[in-house]
């Protein structure tokens, strides 16, 4: 059973003990677009035991440039259904559950409750706030990621240990840079999606990152910043 992961186990940072933790883990990926398909592909191949993912969109022709699990035959299908078909043949050892749904404060617990970590692959700030509020209230870690143009960023949010989304930003509305407003290249979604999946694996094998990562692939920027929790944060402060 472990033969498939031979090269991953051979990497000393993971090893057999790490692989066993990975295979016992359950994760929830919210969103199945460019970040989501990269994350799912990576986590499924890495042998995460149980993956739940949620998205309510259908595949469009303009998605194929960067949403790595989809092909021309998938246009018009629900992303969840198209991705499920691919993931199921990539690694049949993984328990995969995909749900066509829009994540909200009312339903997030249905999908995320038993998961060890949540990965953000959403395309709007409001859903990220839903994830943040849920995760802080339930002491559950999550991986933040965002992309537009040639740039992207990602970080691990561990409640009461690292800054939450609200500590990081004063932002409150959906008015940021997106693939629609600013275009996007597939190198950045593939990079940030891979980084998010890797941050999740590192958390799951007790080697979490404590940095905020920023990339800009057309300006050769690869930056890591230190993270500081805000003791006065309205969501996670003073606890």
């Amino acid at each position: 059973m472990l033969e498939r992961y031979d090269r991953q186990i051979a990497y000393e940072g993971i090893g057999k003990a790490g692989q066993e933790k990975i295979s016992k883990s359950k994760v929830c990926v919210i969103g199945c677009g460019a970040l989501g398909t990269t994350i799912l592909n990576s986590l499924c191949r890495s042998g995460i035991g149980h993956i739940i993912f949620v998205d309510d969109d259908t595949v469009e022709l303009t998605n194929l440039q960067r949403q790595m699990l989809f092909d021309e035959n998938d246009v018009g299908k629900y992303k969840v259904h198209a991705a499920f078909e691919k993931l199921d043949v990539i690694n049949s050892e993984v328990i995969i559950e995909g749900y066509v749904d829009k994540i909200s404060a009312d339903n997030i617990s249905i999908y995320a409750e038993d998961c060890d970590i949540i990965l953000d692959a959403t395309d709007n700030f409001q859903t990220r706030q839903v994830i943040n509020t849920y995760c802080i209230a339930n002491n559950k870690p999550w991986i933040y990621g965002g992309v537009a143009g040639s740039c992207g960023m990602a970080t691990t949010i561990i409640p009461f240990k690292t800054p939450c989304l609200n500590c990081l930003s004063d932002f409150k509305t959906n008015e940021g840079y997106t693939a629609k407003t600013s275009g996007i290249i597939n190198a950045i979604t593939a990079s940030i999606g891979s980084i998010e999946a890797n941050l999740a694996i590192r958390y799951l094998i007790d080697k979490p990152s404590d940095k905020f990562i920023y990339l800009d692939l057309f300006n050769d920027i690869f930056e890591c910043f230190e993270l500081k929790q805000n003791p006065n944060c309205k969501i996670c402060g003073n606890k």
Binding site: G31, G33, A34, L35, G36, D120, A121, T122, D123, N124, F125, G145, G146, V147, A148, G149, S150, C151, G152, M153, P163, C167, L168, S169, D170, F171, T173, N174, E175, G176, Y177, T178, A179, K180, S182, I184, F212, Y214, D216, N219, I221, E223, F225, E226, L227, K228, N230, N232
Partner: protein, 74 residues
């Protein structure tokens, strides 16, 4: 007066006309955004001397402020 350096990443670069600012004591990151006419909604994180800070953080002499754009896509 205090002197600070500002670095804006990616989409925010277009707003930066000065990289070294001389400002009155007690100014915050938010004040710098206003002074440079950078819409607050475009900025996701303010980084001072290498780590994230709340937007209302007061700046000190020789601080270095980096501004990361609000990347909302996924």
């Amino acid at each position: 007066m205090i002197k600070i350096t500002v670095k804006a990443f990616s989409f925010l670069e277009k707003f930066i006309t000065e990289t070294t600012l001389t400002l009155p004591e007690g100014v915050s990151c938010e004040d710098v955004l206003r002074r440079l006419n950078i819409p607050k909604k475009d900025v996701f994180v303010c980084i001072v001397n290498g780590s994230n800070v709340p937007f209302n953080t007061k700046l000190k002499d020789n601080d270095s402020l980096s501004l990361l754009p609000h990347l909302e896509g996924g």
